[in-house]
């Protein structure tokens, strides 16, 4: 079986697995990184959302062979350490302050999607987010945490506009 060389949460890893196995199963079943959740496997629910080179993506829909060894994959487990400074990522801090999570299943994906949206806005020099931009987030939350997700993104954007924080690998 081919050996896949990956960079996950800042660590170089090697896994024996076929090229066409989707990254989500490599993360969850072979590397025991279970923060990215399996909801649909179809790029629909967004619960697996993670970052590759600082951009949000769906590991359920990426054959592992598509990744280069230098691509920086960051899952919710590695988010805090993928930015400068101690402690959690600012989005995680705000998420806790706003008490966003209910059952929690969708929340790793919600947070990673929020990080991506906020980084994109900041890179464009924006300090605000429109209702339409919030509407465009596709992450399903069956608990209905959506209103607090909106509030938390607005607050995290305000915090990060003061002190911009970009995830390692962003801009590549």
């Amino acid at each position: 079986m081919p050996v896949q060389k990956l960079t996950v949460n800042g660590q170089r890893v090697e896994v024996d697995v076929e090229d066409d196995v989707r990254l989500l199963w490599v993360l969850r079943d072979l590397l025991d990184i279970t923060g990215p959740k399996y909801g649909c496997g179809l790029s629909i629910c967004q619960s697996c959302t993670s970052l590759v080179n600082g951009k949000a993506f769906n590991p359920c829909s990426v054959p592992v062979g598509q990744l280069r060894p230098s691509d920086e994959v960051v899952t919710i487990e590695g988010l805090a350490d993928a930015v400068d400074g101690d402690g959690l990522h600012p989005v995680q801090e705000v998420w806790l302050e706003e008490d966003v999570a209910q059952c929690g299943f969708c929340q790793p994906g919600q947070i990673m999607a929020a990080v991506d949206l906020i980084q994109t806005l900041l890179a464009d020099g924006r300090r605000d987010v429109t209702e339409a931009e919030l509407d465009s987030l596709r992450n399903v939350c069956r608990c209905g945490t959506y209103p607090r997700v909106r509030t938390a993104i607005r607050r995290a954007l305000a915090v990060m506009a003061e002190t911009p924080v970009f995830v390692r690998g962003a801009g590549r």
Binding site: C60, S61, D99, D116, D135
Partner: protein
């Protein structure tokens, strides 16, 4: 044969919505204000308090543009009382809006503001209670407007969340508020207590905005469905374009 499951708040949203629509009809018939009629017929102070709270916080009766309106819903269950005030936008430009990231064929009316007041008796964790009411409102809005399955030729047309239109960010009200009323009553339940009054209030708001009372739910049910990505009866392979999707 197909498997069935339970919906949050089971039968209450449907029953309460039918009743609350009927009360608005009676009010219209006898020329009385829907809030005033409810307040004059409810018999206990806790019921009056939740309704008065949403009416005050939501400025019941305020002027709104044609095609938009407010609606009220009241519900009593789990030893508690709940009321909801919804503002809805049913104008053509809203109803036909598209979401660039979504496969929705039809988005439909948008709830723009949702205000909830609840008395569950003694409250231990107010933030948790507020979260349950917010989640319940998302369910109530979906039950009224968008969330259903279509049985077509013996199979469900919906293959995934993309096509079963539970509330997504593009259906979420721009403003939500939850008021927890002080209460010395016995603690009751709260996990499902946000659904029924918000479904009813959404239905009444829709009726007032469009001038026609909805009689089957969800209101979007007859509208075109998004094209299915999964051929019926198959288990699809995961896509391979995830690097470019979000």
């Amino acid at each position: 044969m197909f498997r069935t499951g339970s919906m949050r708040n089971i039968y209450s949203p449907n029953v309460v919505t039918a009743r609350e629509l009927a009360i608005d009809q009676v009010a219209a018939e006898v020329g009385r204000d829907p809030l005033e009629l409810r307040l004059s017929t409810l018999r206990d102070a806790r019921s009056v308090a939740v309704l008065e709270k949403v009416a005050e916080a939501g400025s019941w009766g305020r002027e709104m543009p044609a095609g938009t309106a407010q609606g009220l819903g009241f519900h009593s269950e789990y030893k508690g009382r709940a009321a909801c005030l919804i503002e809805i936008d049913c104008r053509p430009e809203t109803v036909s809006r598209t979401v660039p990231t979504a496969a929705y064929a039809y988005t439909g009316p948008r709830v723009t503001r949702a205000i909830y007041a609840v008395d569950v008796g003694l409250t231990i964790n107010p933030r948790g209670l507020e979260a349950q009411m917010l989640g319940g409102m998302m369910d109530g809005i979906a039950n009224c407007l968008s969330f259903s399955l279509h049985l077509v030729d013996g199979a469900f047309a919906e293959d995934s969340w993309e096509h079963a239109y539970y509330t997504r960010q593009w259906n979420v009200p721009f403003e939500t508020q939850v008021f927890i009323l002080d209460s010395s009553s016995q603690p009751g339940g709260a996990g499902e207590f946000g659904v029924a009054a918000s479904m009813a209030a959404t239905a009444n708001a829709y009726a007032r905005a469009t001038g026609s009372m909805p009689t089957s739910f969800p209101i979007n049910h007859g509208m075109p469905l998004a094209e299915s990505i999964v051929p019926p009866g198959t288990i699809p392979q995961s896509p391979t374009d995830g690097l470019g999707r979000r």
